[in-house]
Homo-oligomer: 201 residues x 2
């Protein structure tokens, strides 16, 4: 894979972010550029943009729930609407960065497995105990990650990532930045592919 890395932002509570992680390996091949996975938190951004979780918005909420299911099927990704939604994904986000600093490849695996636990198996990954449990199932040291989740250093590490995302103008999930060009949404992935293929327009 040649070419500068592409930043790939997603929020663990986002169904479209989930779909994007399931398509990410194929997308990487299509664009011939490595993706840098960067989970972040939409909560602080909604405060700035006046945004809200899709399902909480009048009219848009009902549509979105339908579109989550439809989009997942269209992309052949297993999906069921979790009973608890949305969630506070800060523990999932922190666990990702803790593992990412040790083993980036394994961190990607953790992100995918956390998402699947939430959106296919209806497990509430808003709970730190479940995040640790999922990590443990991948052979990660559960006690170490559990202790890390309460470590101010990891909290600060994660906050820095979220602040950096905000500074870059990231306001939705999934979000890709390719050579400075921003693409928001699973539905912009085909356009991003064409952008890379043609050098932009």
């Amino acid at each position: 894979m040649s070419g500068a890395p592409v930043d790939f932002y997603f929020e663990f509570s986002s169904p479209y972010g989930y779909i994007a992680t399931q398509l990410a390996d194929e997308f990487e091949k299509k664009i011939g550029r490595p993706l840098t996975w960067r989970p972040f938190l939409l909560g602080p951004i909604f405060k700035m943009t006046g945004g809200a979780p899709l399902t909480a918005i009048p009219m848009k909420g009902e549509y979105s729930k339908r579109d989550f299911v439809r989009s997942a099927r269209w992309h052949k990704v297993p999906f069921r609407m979790p009973d608890t939604f949305p969630i506070n994904s800060v523990a999932a986000c922190r666990a990702f960065y803790w593992l990412n600093d040790r083993d980036p490849q394994k961190a990607k695996g953790l992100a995918k497995t956390l998402y699947t636990a939430f959106f296919a198996e209806n497990r509430d990954i808003g709970s730190p105990a479940i995040v640790v449990d999922v990590a443990r199932s991948l052979g990660v040291d559960g006690d170490a990650i559990s202790a890390a989740l309460d470590d101010p250093a990891l909290k600060e590490r994660t906050k820095k990532e979220v602040d950096a995302a905000i500074s870059r103008g990231i306001f939705g999930s999934p979000f890709f930045v390719i050579d400075g060009e921003p693409f928001w949404g699973v539905d912009r992935m085909p356009m991003a592919e064409e952008w890379v293929r043609t050098g932009g327009w």
Copy 2:
């Protein structure tokens, strides 16, 4: 063209609505179903959903302006950001329905030409005088349409359409409803095509 008509909603101040009208004839052929054009007004809906014109939303605003241009080029539709944006599109909407009740085919032509005037030629179609002028350029009786724009009956006719759109859960532009299935956005048009082709999933 066989099969039940597909409702096609759009707001004259919406760049993505504009792009959709430019793609509509081809889309009609692809899905093999006639489109019923239904302009509506997003203003009253934003009041219900807490929405706002995209360009007025922090972070999303800058992104959107970029995406309008990029999406228009991707679909080979001429576009420049109008100097006055957004606009109150009520005169354009009323003019459409007035003409639609007399000559639906010509009303489609008026919609396309109004949109092109706004998004390609930078003419402020928020102004009733410009709406009348555009209609006149298509051979429509300018004095009749000008008088109609102030007619309470046309105001009521238009309000009914907007209220009906709201009742159906239409909250964005463009918006298609195919056999009860809602599709929001230019980016959902390929999914809608597949939906019709396969009978849904």
